[in-house]
Symmetry: C2
Subunit: 219 residues, 2 copies
């Protein structure tokens, strides 16, 4: 059974591998906030345990086992977030930190019960997909708001970040999942978006924000 550290390495590897299946030791270290020699040592352990493939000086890649295990940890994380939000009433800006700990609990019945109470959800409070029991994750290919053209209307489906500060910013702006956003204007010089949604008219969203909002065009 994987240790907590192992699970955290696998999660990090999983999310890095989605962008690029060839993962460097350095970027993994940065992601996890540990030194390169630590990653180097740890990766050898993970290799010995069958989670990753690794040869010295070559990039790291996940084995099928590793991918599955990672997805199952992500599953536990996202189910926990959903539970904290929908059952316990926490705000979407609070759930990540707590789920970060809950995800390491070893109890299938506990997570199965969560799943059941939630009605077998397929996405978490930030719109990210919840892998199934076998570790299969649906990948939604939403666009970012920053890719949308003037005049189009979109629905907010998910977020690219679960960062607390970002989520609190969205709270302040009264932006939540499902909201319909109309792009009124795009400034050429800074790519900032002027949008309307709900009760809000002509709100300005920076390029940084627009790039973190995952949307689907509705008209």
């Amino acid at each position: 059974m994987p240790t907590q550290a192992t699970e955290n390495y696998l999660k990090a590897l999983y999310s890095l591998h989605l962008k690029n299946p060839e993962i460097s030791l350095t970027e993994l270290g940065q992601r996890l906030g540990v030194s390169k020699p630590t990653v180097n040592e740890m990766i050898k352990r993970l290799e010995k345990e069958g989670w990753v493939m690794y040869e010295r000086y070559k990039p790291i890649s996940l084995t099928e086992e590793g991918k599955k295990m990672a997805a199952l940890v992500i599953r536990k994380h996202r189910l926990s977030e959903m539970f904290l939000s929908d059952i316990m009433g926490f705000g979407w800006e609070e759930v990540h930190q707590i789920a970060e700990q809950i995800e390491h609990l070893k109890s299938d019945i506990f997570f199965d019960r969560m799943d059941e109470m939630l009605g077998f959800p397929t996405s978490d409070p930030h719109g990210s997909p919840i892998p199934d029991r076998e570790g299969n994750m649906i990948k939604n290919n939403y666009k970012t708001l920053s890719q949308i053209k003037e005049g189009e209307t979109v629905e907010l489906k998910a977020l690219r970040s679960s960062d607390k500060e970002f989520l609190m910013y969205l709270n302040k702006k009264e932006i939540s999942l499902g909201v319909e956003i109309k792009v009124n204007n795009i400034e050429v010089f800074d790519n900032s978006f002027t949008v309307s949604y709900g009760e809000q008219v002509n709100v300005v969203l920076s390029q940084a924000v627009a790039a973190k909002l995952l949307v689907e065009v509705i008209k």
Copy 2:
């Protein structure tokens, strides 16, 4: 912040100290399933960190800090049990094992929210008292059923064990907290009890079982 191992040592020390404030290294080791040298080393660490008082060859005792910390871990454990039982619908025989892990989560808001959702309970699904936020625990002085005289009627208030096998035995016998038990007969030679409760008439409970049922005389 205490590690998980530290929290487990403190919990064990706390429950041992209730019977005898002078705790031996050996019994602590047995309770935790670790060797004497391991306990010896660990106790030195706990002493350095201010959780216990210790001098070589002398019995171990908890400091005030240690007692409070232990009680707070027990609080988290029992709140978790209550949550698993009342909110998530687990049986009282399932909750201990899961709570054993949840108790180590570091998140005050998480346990506060549990507490709130449960309506600030004062005891867990096995009738054990839940310490308050300051670490104060009420000690109930219930009698065991084995101390009750023939003809008396008692109410089952708590259990002396949260052992899964024991709880499943109680389930089978349809014995739950709050049930009124009338002692019909006590066998002299083996101290077994013949009792009636609910729909059940003249059920025989062994001395071993009777000693684990904590009751209050009602008539």
